[in-house]
Symmetry: C2
Subunit: 435 residues, 2 copies
């Protein structure tokens, strides 16, 4: 379903495509090509201001777990409510599997549902993700699609919401499929920390697919959002305006026939009366918050496990919040903003939620109360799922240790040492004391 | 117990005293007096740098409720631990009353305690504030003193920790008693909001006594601090260096024989292994946090009462935190710092504590769950005590309404309207929505 030629290619032939594909080996022609691309972009951008959008965005959600389905629901509500900007239909890529509808389901009909059925077919007929988000009606403009390339190929806006361990294989499958002027938002929590460096899932997706990808993160327990209980989130979107390391030829322009892709558009796509959105530019900060808060949630769980009370818990959360910010500013100095951590939903609010009720907090608390290693609690409580906080604490510690910076992050370091059995929780106050 | 003459008066005669008392009606002599005072201060300050302290500070705590006694305990632990800076003895002013020691008390001796006794005598013999902070051993260098002027007259450092409604009468009693170079810290939570303006208790104390008073506030539930459960606090101290409206002749210098009164000294006086202190300069911010958080705690209680979950609660807390900061910056623009609210114990941490377990949160939650006005819950639950949050919400609303600024503070305004029955809690998300 190809879009008609964009305003820029109408005006300047195929220069925009050249921009994205030229890989000349000759320096002279490379410079000429870059200049041409730059000129093309400048003129295209001037032309765009004169163009009224005649096309609408097509939105695809890649992922259909409980959080993926909840986000697809929000997006589909908004595409329907804003037909001047979006095609109402929202494709949702679903990893196809067979599912037996329980006989207790209100729509169960023994004539139709006696055998396991394709999950996509069930979602499309019942308008409910019966396996991963049961009991939540989904808008009928969500179209569950089993083929990821079919789901993504004509999308001008892509929303990624898959478990982080699948990011790489999904990028492999999508390679070469996406419109090069598409824009994406990653709702995948956290970052990828290795001793060598930290990579953001949004950057990985963007680089691998050759498109730009921002991030969404906030105090968003999926089932609460799906049930339309009030919450907030933060979206970060800050595409580069010229060539960068990840985009050596610059990004391909969004065609002028499409509504401009900017903070306002993303607010329109995600904001709901029950789901308030703030859009910022700090992609690194938004992504880091969702990872580092899990370390702090473990510290808060330790303190609660000891029964130290609300003062102590609030103190640990405050110290942790400042270490999260310090980490961002130290390692992503150019882009990380203080305010992302201390003022936005992805920072302070997500931290509060995680320290009140998240699984990291819960398992850490139980490990102290039952005097058992957290791995044992994890096995008892999480039904095979893994705690994010313990691995993040270990990865962040390795990263800091290699740089000789453990002492700069006393709470992160203390959590790791306590998890390793090298320190006692009772010593937390002195471990984080700054005299 | 007078101190020997200060370095400044040794060097410059009685000029420092002139500074504090001169109230000439003639403009020329007023200017001359101010210049003389300025010169005196400059020279005294130069001289002080050459002087090694030969005297020690005497600390008095004014107040002996549970928070007053907990703070006296901390201070007395530190005066004992730092004999080079402080006289170990800490006087604690106690409002004298008769108290019957219960026969269940471990120290009860029917021969001694058959009749009600003076509370000061019991505190000084048992080293325990048996009425207001039972079961917590107090250091034996706390001397309970029934006469407020006797307690305060030789103190070089005063710590005020009384219920806010007694501030005025205590200042009346102390009028003219305090050393004019004494410095004070107010641990009294909150601020005094009237439609005309907002006054800080620290400013009131300072102005009324003619001395400088800073503030201490944080996530500090008194009984937890007394039990040495870990917590943090924030102290604000920022004495003016020249004449101001409140101190038209400038402050009287602290004599050079005494250790300098600065952030380091206050950290030494209050910081404990279980009570971590950060010292800042923003007295208004530290004081405002302790008042405005109570409005937010009511909002958090409403949300919890509806069972909206952790996302919603964190969202309301985040919005409230930013309104607290906005209020500070709008009405105390010169001095209020963003970081006081978003980074310090007196801001974000105190807010977290209050929204998790404070009485404002609890009563607001119950009022929704039981569908009763909050005043009824207050009467049922608080044993005659009054909620701070409801009156602060009303006072702040009156203050904002008079200035046409209600819409700038949608959460504060919504809490007031819900308390008044003008709006429903269910509408909170739309009341605070910013599209």
């Amino acid at each position: 379903m190809p879009l008609p030629p964009s305003a820029s290619s109408l005006l300047f032939g195929s220069s925009a495509v050249v921009t994205a594909t030229a890989t000349s080996t000759s320096t002279g022609s490379a410079i000429a090509s870059r200049r041409l691309a730059q000129l093309s972009r400048t003129l295209a951008s001037s032309a765009k201001m004169l163009t009224t959008p005649t096309q609408k965005h097509r939105v695809t959600v890649v992922g259909s777990g409980n959080w993926g389905s909840a986000i697809a629901k929000i997006v589909a509500e908004n595409t329907k409510a804003n037909p001047e900007l979006f095609h109402p239909e929202v494709k949702m890529w679903v990893y196809e599997e067979k599912y037996q509808l329980p006989s207790t389901h209100p729509a169960y009909d023994p004539a139709k549902h006696a055998e396991p059925e394709k999950l996509t077919a069930l979602i499309n007929s019942l308008h409910e993700n019966v396996k991963y988000l049961p009991s939540i009606p989904l808008p009928d403009n969500i179209i569950a699609t089993p083929d990821i390339c079919d789901a993504a190929s004509d999308a001008t806006l892509l929303v990624f919401n898959v478990p982080h361990q699948f990011v790489s294989s999904i990028c492999n499958q999508l390679n070469g499929t996406c419109l090069q002027y598409a824009r994406a938002i990653s709702c995948i929590k956290g970052v990828d920390v290795s001793p060598e460096g930290i990579s953001l899932f949004s950057d990985t997706i963007g680089r691998r697919l050759g498109i730009y990808c921002g991030a969404l993160s906030g105090a968003n327990i999926a089932n609460e959002v799906a049930a339309e209980k009030f919450s907030e989130t933060t979206i970060a979107y800050n595409p580069p305006t010229g060539p960068t390391k990840d985009y050596p030829n610059g990004l391909e322009e969004v065609p002028g026939e499409l509504p401009a892709v900017d903070h306002t558009l993303f607010k329109t796509l995600f904001h709901r009366p029950y789901f308030h959105v703030r859009v910022v530019s700090d992609v690194a900060g938004v992504s880091l918050g969702g990872a580092l808060k899990n370390i702090v949630a473990i510290a808060a769980g330790f303190v609660d496990g000891l029964g130290w009370g609300d003062n102590a818990k609030a103190a640990v959360m405050r110290v942790g919040l400042l270490e999260m910010r310090k980490f961002g500013k130290m390692f992503f100095s150019e882009s990380c903003k203080s305010a992302t951590f201390t003022e936005e939903s992805c920072g302070v609010a997500d931290l509060i939620t995680s320290c009140n009720g998240g699984r990291n907090h819960k398992c850490a608390k139980l490990s102290i109360q039952k005097n058992k290693p957290i791995e044992e609690i994890e096995a008892e409580e999480l039904n095979g799922q893994k705690l994010q906080g313990t691995s993040t604490a270990s990865e962040v510690n390795e990263y800091l240790k290699r740089r000789g910076l453990e002492a700069e992050f006393p709470l992160f370091t203390a959590v790791h040492q306590i998890l390793k059995g090298e320190k006692k929780v009772e010593h937390l106050p002195e471990l984080i004391e700054r005299v």
